[in-house]
Symmetry: D2
Subunit: 364 residues, 4 copies
C-alpha cells in the first residue's frame, strides 16, 4: 500500500463531516481527496464553505482546506476521484438521504454512512466493528439485490448505544445470555450536531428527552447482535432493552448506567471483569489503524468512567467501563462511556471501512 486510497466525504461541512476530515488527516491508508456538500457550498474552497467555522479542534487539515467543494448531487465527480465515500449527511429528510446514498452505491461507490436513514433497511448492516464484523458478509447479497456491482452501503448505529453494547456483546460472546437491560444515558450536546442544543436549555439543567433516541437505543442492538442467515439479519431474540435518554451539559462523551439480567447461566463479578479485560474483537486481531488496543477499558477507580477523564481513551475509540457491582434487582449493574462523535460516529465509520478493506470488500 504505497499510495493511499482516495476517499470522499459527503456532507463534509457539517460537524460529523468535519470530524471525518480531522480524523483522516494522517490516516495511513486513506486520503481525503474529495468533499461534497449542498449546492450552496459547492464551488467554494472547503475552508470558506464552513458557515460556522471549523468546530472540531485544531486546524483544518491543509490537504483539505483548499479542496473545492463538490455538489453532493454530482455523483460522477465523486466516482471519478474516490474509491469510496463516507456519508455524513445531516439533511432532515431521511428519504432524501436514502436516495442519495443509493445513487452513490449504484454508481459503484461503497458508502460508509453515519446517517440513520438506512439502519432499518433489511440488507444494510449496522456495524460496530468489534461486535458484528461478519455482518459485512451480507454485502454480496446486498449488491445482487440492488443490481450494484462495486458499490454497497454500510451504516453505523446510533451513538447512544455504543457505550454499553460492546461490554454486553463481550459477555454474550463468552456464553452468558443477557435477557434484560435497563439503561439510562446521559448524552453530550455534540450528539445533536451544530448548533444543536441551545445553551439556555442545558446551562444548569438536564433535558430528560432526546426525540427518537430511546427507540433507537432499544431496537438497533437487536439487529447488531442478530444472526446473518440466508442473506438477511435475524434480530437477537429473548433480549429486552429499556432506555431513558437524557441530554446533559457535557460537550463530548455519552455515559450510560446499565442494569443487566442474565439468562440461566450467570457469571460471577470476577468472570465479567476477566471477560472484559481479555476481550478482543476482529479490529484488535487485525490491528486496524483506528482500533483501540483494548476495545473495553475497565477502570478500577470507584468514580469512573467520567466523560472528561475517559472520552479520549485510546484515540477516543475505546469504551470505558467501571463500577461493576451486584444489583439488588437484576444481576449486575455498571457504568459505560464512549466518545460519541469519534467512537460513536466518524471514528467508528473509519474503523468499519478499515475492516471492509481488510476483509476484501473494497476493490481498490
Amino acid at each position: 500500500m504505497n499510495k493511499k486510497i482516495p476517499v470522499g466525504v459527503l456532507g463534509a461541512t457539517g460537524m460529523v463531516g468535519q470530524q471525518y476530515i480531522r480524523l483522516l488527516a494522517d490516516h495511513p491508508w486513506f486520503e481525503v481527496v474529495y468533499v461534497a456538500a449542498s449546492p450552496q457550498s459547492a464551488g467554494k474552497k472547503y475552508k470558506e464553505a464552513l458557515k460556522s467555522g471549523w468546530l472540531v479542534g485544531g486546524e483544518i487539515p491543509s490537504n483539505v482546506a483548499g479542496l473545492i467543494v463538490g455538489d453532493v448531487a454530482n455523483i460522477k465527480r465523486a466516482a471519478d476521484s474516490c474509491a469510496f465515500v463516507f456519508s455524513a449527511f445531516e439533511m432532515p429528510d431521511k428519504e432524501a438521504i436514502k436516495t442519495a446514498e443509493n445513487a452513490y452505491a449504484a454508481a459503484g461507490m461503497p458508502v460508509f454512512s453515519n446517517a440513520s436513514a438506512h439502519r432499518d433497511t433489511p440488507n444494510v448492516p449496522v456495524m460496530i466493528a468489534e461486535i458484528n464484523p461478519h455482518h459485512l458478509d451480507i454485502i454480496p447479497a446486498q449488491q445482487k439485490a440492488n443490481g450494484w456491482k462495486k458499490g454497497f452501503i454500510v451504516v453505523k448505529p446510533n451513538c447512544s448505544l455504543q457505550s454499553y453494547l460492546t461490554p454486553i456483546h463481550a459477555l454474550i460472546a463468552a456464553g452468558y445470555e443477557v435477557e434484560k437491560l435497563i439503561i439510562t444515558t446521559m448524552q453530550a450536546v455534540s450528539g445533536a450536531g451544530y448548533p444543536g442544543v441551545a445553551s439556555l436549555d442545558v446551562i444548569d439543567n438536564i433535558i430528560p428527552l432526546i426525540p427518537g433516541e430511546e427507540e433507537k437505543t432499544e431496537e438497533e442492538p437487536l439487529k447488531i447482535l442478530g444472526e446473518l442467515k440466508g442473506g438477511k439479519f435475524a434480530p437477537k431474540k429473548n433480549l429486552a432493552i429499556s432506555a431513558h435518554c437524557n441530554r446533559v451539559p457535557v460537550s463530548d462523551g455519552h455515559l450510560a448506567c446499565v442494569n443487566v439480567l442474565f439468562g440461566k447461566k450467570k457469571p460471577s463479578k470476577e468472570k465479567i471483569l476477566e471477560i472484559w479485560k481479555s476481550f478482543r474483537g476482529e479490529p484488535q486481531t487485525l490491528e486496524l489503524p483506528f482500533a483501540p488496543k483494548h476495545a473495553i477499558i475497565y477502570r478500577d477507580e470507584p468514580n469512573r468512567p467520567q466523560p472528561k477523564m475517559d472520552r479520549d481513551a485510546d484515540k477516543a475509540m475505546a469504551v470505558s467501563v467501571g463500577r461493576l457491582r451486584e444489583d439488588t434487582v437484576f444481576d449486575f449493574k455498571f457504568a459505560a462511556l464512549s466518545h460519541n462523535t469519534v467512537r460513536g460516529a466518524a471514528g467508528g465509520g473509519i474503523l468499519t471501512a478499515e475492516l471492509a478493506l481488510k476483509k476484501g470488500y473494497l476493490q481498490v
Copy 2:
C-alpha cells in the same frame, strides 16, 4: 396562634442551616430566635459567623442576622429560648451527631433533623409528610424508651429518593403494589453541601458515584413505606430497589429516571395519571403552610421535568413528574424531580414540624 413559636437552628452556619433560616424568614407559625454552631462560631453575630458568606440567595433575614450564635454544646441556652429545634448538623462524625441530638431530646426539645445519623435508629421515624404522616405516632414509644418527656427525634430521608418516592407511594396507596424499581438519579451539586463538589470535577463532566448514596436510595424507602406496628417499623416487603446515583453539573434539583414493575394488579397509563393528579397527602388536607398545593405535579410537555424549569414549582416543595410511558422491560417508566435543598432538606423538615404541631406532638 397570635404569637409565633420560637425555634432554634443547630448547625445554623452551614448551607442547610442557612436554607432553614431563609425558608423560615416569613413563616406564619415559627420564628427563629436561636442559632447554634460550632465553638469557633459561638459568640459572634450570625452574619459575621458565616465563613463562606450567605450562600442561599437574597439577604440574611434581618431578625436572624444579628443573633449571637450559641455553642451547640450549650443545650440549656436552646432549651430556655426554643420550643423545638431544627438540626442541620454537618459534622462528619455520625456518632457525635446522634449524641448531640439525643442530648437535645433529653433536655425536652423536639428535634427535626436533616442529618442521616438517626435514620437507622429503629424508633426514629424517617418522614416524608405526604407519605408516612402516621409514623409520627411512634413518638410516645420513642419518648418512653429513652426516658424523654417532651423531647423526641424525627428525621428526613436522603434527598436522592424524594423525587420518585412520593409518586410511587401514591400508586401503592391506590392499591397497586410495586415489586421492583430501577432508578438512575442525576443529582445537583448542592446536595454535597458547601464547598462540596470541586468545580474541576463537574465542569463538562458527570461523576457516576456519590459515596453512600445508592445504599440510602435503595434502603430508606423500605422504612418510609413500612408499617408502624407494636411501636416499631416493619420495612416494606416485596419491594426491591436498585439505584445508580450520578453527580451532574446542575446547582439545584435532583432528577430521577425510574422503571417500575408492578405486582399482579397493574394500572393503565391513564389510571396512573389519574392517581398522580388527584393525590393529596395529609399536608394538603391540613393545608399546612409549607405544603405544596399538589404534592405531585404531572407535566404533560414531553421534555419535562427539568431541574431549571421545575425545581422551584410551588415554593420548591412539589415533586414534578413527567414522561410516563410503557416500558419494554418493566411495566412503566417515568422521570421525577424535586428540589434537593428545599423539598429534600430544609423545606421537608419544616413541613414535618408543621405536621407534628397539627397532630399534637409539639407541646407549645
Copy 3:
C-alpha cells in the same frame, strides 16, 4: 385606576415577548389583552403557538394562555383592543421592524420597543427610566414630525450597558464629569434570545465576540446621557467609551468590569459610595410599580456582584455594584451587574411605560 389599561405584546411568542407576558401577569396598572406574532402563529391559541415552549419559568399566565394570537400585520386589531403595545420583535430585518413600529404609531398606538431598529432615529428616545426620564419630553416633537396623533415610539438601549450606565450617570448627576470608560462585559446567553448561543460554543468556554455589541455599548450611552435641546438629542460630549463584549456560560445576568477616568473634579471613594447609596431616579420618586427601591445596590462583600447571587435583586430590576477600588491607570474601577432580560429588556420597557403614563404621555 379601577380598571387596568389594556396592552398588547408584539412578537409575543419569542423569548422577550414571553418575558413581557410573564412580568405583566400581575401588573397593577396594565393587562395583556392582545398578543401578536408572525402569520405562522396567528390564529392559534397563545399557548399552542409557542414552538419552543414557555421558556421563562413558571407557567404561562392563565389570562394570556388562551388568547388567540393576532397577525402583527393586522394593526387594526391591536388598535381596537389596546391602549399601547410593547414591541418584542425578533425579526432579523431592522427596516421591517422600523416599518412595523411606525405603522403602529401611525395608527395611534404608543410603542415601547425592545428592538434596536429605532435606536439611531434622531427623535426616538432611548430610555433608562432612572437616567433620562426627561427624554420622553421629545414625544410631542416626534409626533408632530411624523404626523402622529396619539402614537409614538420609545425604545430601550442594549442590555450590555445597563449594568454600568446607571452608576456612571449617578456620578455625573452628582457633578463629577466622566471622561473615559474602559469596559469588559461578560454577558449571559439569554441575551442572544432562543435558541441563541449553541451549547457547544459555551460549555467550558468563553466567546470573546458578540457581533455588533461593542459598538452599541460604546455609542448608545452618548445618546442616553445627552441633552434634549430644541427637539433633538445632543450626544454627551467629552466622554469616550471602549468595550470588550464576551459571551459566557451564564444563563442570565450581564456583568461588567469598569475603569473610570473622571474629569478635573474627582470624587473620593467615600463620596462615590455615598452617591450610589443615596441615588434615586424619577421611578423611585414616583414609586412606579416596577421601580426597584434602590436603583443601585452597592454590595460590600469583596466578591460581589455575581450573576447568580445578584441578578434577581429587587425583582431583577436593581443594578448591583461592587468592588469599587482605586485604579492604577484611571481613577477608579468597579464591577456592575444587571439582569439582561428583565432590567435590560422587558422589565425596563415596562418601567418606561409606567413612567410615560405618570408623566402624562399615555392618553388612556
Copy 4:
C-alpha cells in the same frame, strides 16, 4: 545527551505536581526519578499517595507510578538522586516554602519553582522564557549572595499575566513603548488548584474576585520586563497596569481582554500583526523541546481566541491572540489566551529549565 538528566518534583501529589509529571513523561532531556510530598504521603507509592486521584488526564506515567514518595524535608535524598528539582509546593505558608526552597538550593540543587513565595525576592528572576531569558544571568550573583555553589532559585510568574505579557513584550521589543494597560481576565478554575473553586460558586455564575490576583497581574510584569543591571532587577518604568480578575466556569485557559496605550511612537495595526507573527524568543531560536513553534499565534477568525478551541495550541505552550482592533479610548485592544496549568505553570517551568540547561546554568 545519551542519558536523561534525573530530576525531582517537590509537592508532587498536588495538581501542579501532577502536571509536571504528566508533561515530563516523555521529555527528551529530563526524567523524573524522585517525587517528594508532605510527611503524610512519604513512604507510599506515588500512585497510592494521590488522595484525590490523578487529576490531569490520561494515566500516571508508568515510570513514576511506582516511585516511593520522599518527605520534602529529606533534602539529602533529593540531592543524592536529582540534578535539579521542580517545586510545585501548594503549602499555604509562603515563608515555609521560601525556607524549603532555600534549603534545596543550599544543598546544591537548582530549583525551578511554580510557587509565588520567591517572586518578590530581589535576586530571584521571574521567568517567561520568551521574554526575559537574560534574567537567568543573575544566577551567579544570587549564588554568591547566598553562599550557594551549584544551587539557585528561579521562579515563574502568576498564570494570570501569561496570556497578554508575551504579545506586549513583543511590541516593546520592536521599539514601541507601552505606557498603559487595562486588562480584564477571565480565569479558569484549574488556576485555583484542587479542590479549588466550589462548583456551587461557578455553575451559571462568575466570581469577580480572585484574592491577590490583581496585584500580581499589575506588579509582576514590571519585574519581568525590567532591566538586569549590576546584579539586580530594575523594574520597568513608565508602564502602568490595571487588572480586573474574574473566575469563570471554564476548566482550563485564561483569557484576557486588553487595552493598550503606546508611548509617542505608535505602531499601525498591520505593524502589530507583523510583529506578532514574526516574533521569536530565545526558546524558539534554541529550538527547546517545550518551546512552541510560534510563541504567539494570531487568530484571524473574528471570535477567537477561545479557551476550549485555543488552550491546547502547540502543546498548550503557545499564546493565542486575536481581535486586534483600534480602540476608542487607548490605541488598540485585543484578546489573548494561554493555558494556565501548562504554559502558565508546569510547562513554563520546564521550558525555563531547558533554557537554563542550554545557557549553561545547570551543571549536569
